[in-house]
């Protein structure tokens, strides 16, 4: 067991996933990477510890953020995990729907440096400004 922040990253673009994982590791966080929702749930079920935070892309190959959140919220073991959406598109409608489902932040991918997203994640997990 370590005190590193465990981030479950769900991103269907392999290249982006690689960049995210690299940066998270270098910044002292522990990335758990998956390219789809089903893989993510497999991890959630099998991992010894629940992740501290979920980094979620909205559009996934096997589902979308909305469906993922609904499934996540159903299980009391996971419903408390904070979720940050990092997506390519953020229509008002989607943003509102996701925030209503308990998502902490809805970020537009190209607008943020990884560093900035990690800062936001750390703040959410630790509950204080980094």
């Amino acid at each position: 067991m370590n005190d590193k922040i465990k981030v479950l990253v769900i991103e269907d673009e392999e290249l982006l996933l690689e960049a995210i994982a690299r940066k998270l590791s270098n910044d002292g966080l522990e990335p758990i990477t998956c390219t789809g929702a089903s893989q993510a749930f497999d991890y959630l079920k099998s991992l010894p510890e629940t992740p501290d935070v979920i980094w979620l892309d909205y559009y996934l190959k096997d589902t979308n953020g909305l469906e993922f959140m609904k499934l996540l919220m159903k299980d009391p073991r996971w419903s408390q995990i904070p979720v940050v959406v990092v997506s390519n598109s953020a229509s008002e409608e989607k943003r509102k729907a996701m925030l209503a489902l308990g998502v902490k932040k809805y970020l537009l991918k190209a607008e943020y440096r990884l560093e900035e997203i990690i800062k936001i994640i750390k703040e959410i997990v630790t509950g204080k400004k980094v």
Binding site: E13, L15, L16, A19, I20, R22, K23, N26, Y59, N88, S89, A90, S91, E92, R95, L108, K109, A110, E111, R113, L114, E115
Partner: protein, 552 residues
């Protein structure tokens, strides 16, 4: 007498004669009665009425002698009109001028002849004469009576003119009416053919909203034939629904509003329901028909915009696709650059860092260009959400400035803000208006040389809130002032100074201001600076339930 003048007079005389339209007409009792009376009064066997044509004398009436016309030269009448007053020849045998006249030598063998000119329009056009085989005289009384009788002839001649003019006028009017009628019919046929065959559906209604006309396209599009629709109220016979399939209330239909508000209504928000209960989207205009300030009815013109809607949908799809597909590689580049620049994959030297920074910034430009293009597509699609909420402009401006502070400081600009103290919260979409301040201020900072002055002023003027953003920058060349708000325009003088820029900012800004109910304009002096003003109505922006928002 001057021969030329004689000719002119003769022309006038002939024109007066011809205006009677009497030459070569059949005998008429009204004239015959006069000549008959003359022979009874004066006891002569002969009397007649002759008209002096160009080279002949033509007799309208003649008693006891059959003569239709005679050569003017040989006529007695020629002498009557040349003489002027009553002409009396008591005995032709005594007068060498008449001794050998054919009418003296043969035929009726005149010896006595008296003629009085018949005047029309002050011209002597004819003669009333009496004649006898024996010489005789006319007493003074007879002479006067003779003139009276001629006056009667003139009255009859006058009737001719009046009658003719009446018939003439009537005929003319009739002819004009016929021509006009034919023209109208031709025009109507043309219009009917056009209206019948154009692609748009055309429905005419009376002031009660009852259908009085439909063309072929109405039937083609709706499936209802003309005979099915005629006479029925348009609101019930052609069902209209909105995009939620809800039937449009009668007092919300464009047609009803056009009639009752007496103005043209154009909309693309509704669907018509066909005879088979399927529906199709329509773009329609409803126009009141107003004659002498009274609404007599209306015309509805519509077309099926299924294809346009489809293209629209495809465009939206493309935008979302482009946003997704373009942003993924842009994000990847951004993040991998970041990883190298941060030294996460090994240290890099200064030169490498510089090159990578160039890549990073180019990529940032690309991201911003994609964002702007997407915003423009959204605005142009007309589906932008306008979601007004009471907004404190001062707070909004301060937030924008906070974000721009690093850039302001970097260029050592001096910033002055003056916001009207008692500015009410204004009902606008803060996300949209934020764009306007952000864009105008970014421009002011960007296009002003270091150490410049940027001023933001917000004041109230009547029913508007006016925001002013001034700078002491490069200014806009006068000859390019008109293009400032055009898409992709960048002024000559700043292209050299600031290579970065899409030329889309002010276009987007203007579009946002106008969709928020405001106006935008500017003044500029090259080398001295520029001031932009934009207004927002105090009454606020009108809410619009769109489908897309900016920056998403």
């Amino acid at each position: 007498m001057d021969p030329a003048q004689t000719l002119v007079n003769e022309e006038k005389r002939l024109s007066s004669l011809y205006s009677l339209k009497i030459l070569d007409t059949p005998n008429e009792e009204r004239f015959d009665r006069i000549t008959f009376l003359a022979i009874r009064i004066f006891g002569t066997p002969y009397a007649g009425i002759g008209f002096i044509d160009k080279s002949r004398v033509w007799f309208k009436s003649m008693q006891h002698f059959d003569l239709k016309e005679i050569s003017r030269d040989k006529s007695f009448e020629k002498h009557v009109i040349e003489n002027g007053e009553v002409f009396i020849l008591e005995d032709a045998h005594d007068n060498p001028m008449f001794q050998n006249n054919p009418l003296v030598l043969g035929g009726p063998k005149f010896r006595f002849y008296a003629g009085v000119p018949l005047v029309m329009n002050a011209e002597k056009v004819g003669v009333l004469f009496i004649a006898d085989r024996f010489p005789r005289k006319l007493t003074g009384v007879e002479s006067v009576t003779f003139k009276d009788v001629s006056a009667w002839v003139e009255v009859e001649m006058l009737k001719n003119v009046v009658n003719y003019q009446n018939t003439q006028t009537l005929t003319e009017i009739q002819e004009q009416l016929t021509t006009r009628n034919r023209q109208l019919e031709e025009e109507k046929a043309k219009h009917d053919a056009m209206i019948e065959n154009i692609g748009e559906g055309v429905i005419g209604i009376n002031d009660k909203g009852e259908i009085i006309f439909t063309n072929k396209s109405v039937e083609n599009m709706t499936g209802f034939s003309q005979s099915e629709l005629m006479g029925k109220p348009i609101w019930t016979s052609l069902k209209m629904v909105d995009k939620f399939d809800k039937e449009v209330e009668v007092n919300e239909t464009p047609v009803r509003n056009a009639l009752y508000l007496n103005k043209k209504i154009a909309t693309s928000d509704y669907f018509y329901v066909r005879r088979d209960n399927t529906k199709f989207p329509v773009a329609m205009t409803a126009t009141p028909i107003v004659v002498f300030e009274q609404v007599l009815g209306g015309a509805v013109v519509f077309r099926d915009i299924t294809k346009e809607k489809e293209v629209d949908r495809m465009k939206t799809e493309f935008i979302s696709l482009a946003s997704h597909q373009l942003r993924t590689p842009l994000s990847a580049m951004k993040w991998f650059c970041e990883i190298i620049l941060d030294g996460d994959v090994g240290s890099i030297n200064e030169e490498q860092k510089e090159v990578l920074n160039n890549i990073y910034h180019s990529n940032e430009r690309m991201i911003s260009l994609v964002n702007t293009l997407l915003n423009i597509s959204r605005i142009e699609s007309g589906r932008l959400i306008i979601d007004p909420e009471p907004t404190d402009l001062k707070k909004l401006i301060n937030e924008v400035i906070l974000e721009l502070r690093p850039r302001l400081d970097k260029k050592k600009h001096h910033l002055a803000i003056s916001v009207h103290e008692n500015l009410p919260a204004i009902n606008i979409d803060p996300k949209l208006v934020r764009h306007v301040y952000m864009n105008l201020l970014t421009n002011a900072i960007k296009y002003t040389p270091e150490g410049g002055e940027v001023v933001v002023m917000v004041s109230r003027s009547g029913r508007e809130i006016v925001s002013q953003i001034s700078d002491s920058g490069y200014g806009i060349p006068k000859n390019q002032a008109e293009q400032v708000f055009k898409k992709f325009f960048r002024a000559e003088n700043i292209v050299k100074v600031e290579t970065e820029g899409t030329g889309l900012g002010l276009y987007l800004t203007k579009t946002i201001v106008e969709s928020s109910g405001g106006r935008i304009w500017f003044e500029s002096s090259e080398g001295k600076g520029t001031t932009f003003w934009f207004t927002l109505p105090i009454s606020g922006s009108v809410e619009k339930k769109g489908e897309v928002s900016l920056d998403t």
